[in-house]
Amino acid sequence: MDVVINEVLSILSSAAIASVIALGLGITFRLMGIINLAHGEFMMIGAYAAVYAGAIGLPWPLGLLAGVLAAAVVGALAEVLIVRWLYSSPELSILGTYGLSIVLIQGVQVTLGKGYLYSSNPFPGAIEVFGVAYPIYRLVLIGAAAVLFLIILLLLNATPLGTKIRAVAADGKLAETLGIRSSRLNLVVFTASAALAGLAGVLVGPLGNVRPDMGADYIFTAFVIVIIAGNSIVRLIPAAILVSTVQNLMTFWIDPMVAKIAVLVIALLVLQGLRRTPGEVTV
């Protein structure tokens, strides 16, 4: 019984991390039609900023803020300098962010070194849940993910800003004729997505190590979740739980490599079995 509870909590906390990363990816995909291959590197920027903030003695909440801000600034710069010019062509936007990811990894590697950094855990210790001692930090992650999703969904669906953003997502040119400045909103969305990545980067910091190519550890799962969820933000949650369940159980019982292949196969099956809603263009 304890094993089951432990496993369920592990799956939930993995799903929480993965879904927050996927949330950042998902909003640029859903709202801007852009797949940001540099998302994992925005995470890395956030994690580095938090580590360095901790190193100069700032308290954890300020480190969190520093991570979010650093990623947001890098994201905004990337949007203005590169991504903005590539919206008209999906292939160039993919390739542009892909090149950006290499520049960020290598840039950090060259300037800050390849070495592993470690960030301290703000909530050390364990707490008893249904008779099982479980790390507090991982429970906090689950709560944080739930709150984040709630905030983003409310922002998009219940505020004027959200309505404008969705109008730009549906048809940027049309929205401009209504007086909405879509280039500004795209900047806002891309920056917000980068900030979310930075936040996720700070959050995963204490779970592993911080290094230039750390994004690759997490981004695989996040991409698979986005593939499964399609362009829906709400569907990210069940997709994250599904992928985390398969990945955790198979890693534990079989082999991490088999787990990777398994989630890949699931993504392909979902892709194949996708039934579009009636009325949608099929070709």
């Binding site: 950006l100 593939i227 392909l268 579009r276 949608e280």
Partner: protein, 583 residues
Amino acid sequence: MRRLHWLLLLLPLLCLFVSNYYSGLVGQYAILGATAALLAFSWGYAGVLHFFHVVAFGLGAYSVGWFALNLGPDGLWLGLLVAVLLTGGVAFLLGIAGLGKNYSFMTFALVTFVVVLALEQIAVQFTAVTGGFNGLSNIPRLGFGDWRLSGSMNALVLATVAVLLVIGLRWLSTTPYGVALRAVRDAPRRMGSFGVDVPAMRISVFVLTSAATGLLGGLFATQTQFVSPSDIGLAFGTSILVWTMLGSKTTLLGPFLAAIGINFATTGLSESLVDYWLLIMGVVFVVVVRFLPEGFGVWLVRILPSRWRRAPHVEVRRAAPEAPRDAAVGGAAPEFVVEQLSVAYGSNRVLQDVGLHVSPGEVLCLIGPNGAGKSTVLNALSAVIRVESGRWRFGDRQFQGRSPWRIARDGLSRKYQHPSIATDLTVGQNLALAVWGPRYRFRRLLWQRWEIEIEPSAWRILEAGGLDARLDQLAAELSHGQRQMLELAMALANPCDVLLLDEPAAGMTKVEAATLASLITEIARDARPAVIVVEHDLELIRTVADRVVVLQNGGVLAEGTYAEVEADVRVQEAYLGTEAQHG
């Protein structure tokens, strides 16, 4: 002058005259060049962007390495075979999953990207087979038993294979298959409506280029005699993408020469700069994507004499008129019947239980205020959108639930509102693709000569539009009215039982529209398809319509001759304030 590319065969001969070191580089770089050309073929020509090229290359290298080291040196031949089959097989599975009818450009690129991420890690972790970080070394060169090629002879063989592959790709790009690929890239929906099996085209090119890349990867391993995870990783994949983009992905020689040139220019740099090298690659890549996405190759093509790149001439003949098709069927003449057609966009119901019937040779005009669902009817009937329910058939041939290209093959032809012909093909090539679409699978297109026979009615339209004298002209050079005529001719190029026309007169002058009206009447009389026309031009409707159906709010409001419908009070009410203003 078009045979100039055979000069490329001089490249392998270099290996005979330069030192061992440089001949080895010639062999390696030629292989990398051909890899870039293969990527250009699937991405630039067929429009399938993916990151699988580096996985295919790495899988090929690893299979040759593993088989040669575990089964003895001659195992490398088996390894090469496995390289081709394995990469082709994996590509086929990926293609089935991602390039089928739910194909999304972005999603497929992402899926293949994820595959690269996974495989790179697997190559590191699956130490028993891949040797982990250390990779596999001491892979033998090509040869049998104890007899092995020297380094420079091995390079000569590799460079020859690479050059022949590029020449083969060039040939492929000029066959009807290659031309159809370009049309599928530019107008997939249109090609589907012409009966082209679009998913099969995409999957075939993806599998073909991947398998060939696997072969190249395997050969590459016999030259370097070493495979490591970096041969399957993203960094290497980036380099290939950079060469392909810089050389122009819409050419084949461009990426090939770019890869060789850039590699020679930077020989040794990657080893001495290590981390900075990747950083520079990344920056170059971003700059290319941002400022030079077309690459240098297209510049070169532009300054070449235009006769060097003239498209092949298409021999267009007029088919002998057929006996009316319905006469062949005994008993009652078959009709085109639509029953209870319903379509919803999300929760918004656009069509509700629409029923229509059209006899061969009859022209039915669908009219109605904007938003009544006229175009939706045509989109639903040609399966461009998914229907909620409904059945439609010609005689006993059922159409519902089939894909667009199958419907087209079964004799339902469609003309879109906006001409969506492939503009970088000639008039003749466009017609040829329309003729072959419903008839040939892609394999047949490989050997097909540029000769077609089109229906007399299509020929008549070409003449009316003055296109019969412009068969070798690029479609991009035609006027809007001429493009409309070409599109109509393409819809009629094969015999068809049902013809759907979506605003055929849109954007035409009054004279052109009048010519079109008499053509539609003549075609219906002579070739006897069942014709459904959606049109706003009331003058054209009055001329061509045998019967008019008025749609409103997704249902049939009224039906009858033009005069009857015009006199109907309900129709006047529906139209007043909308169409009445337009006249």
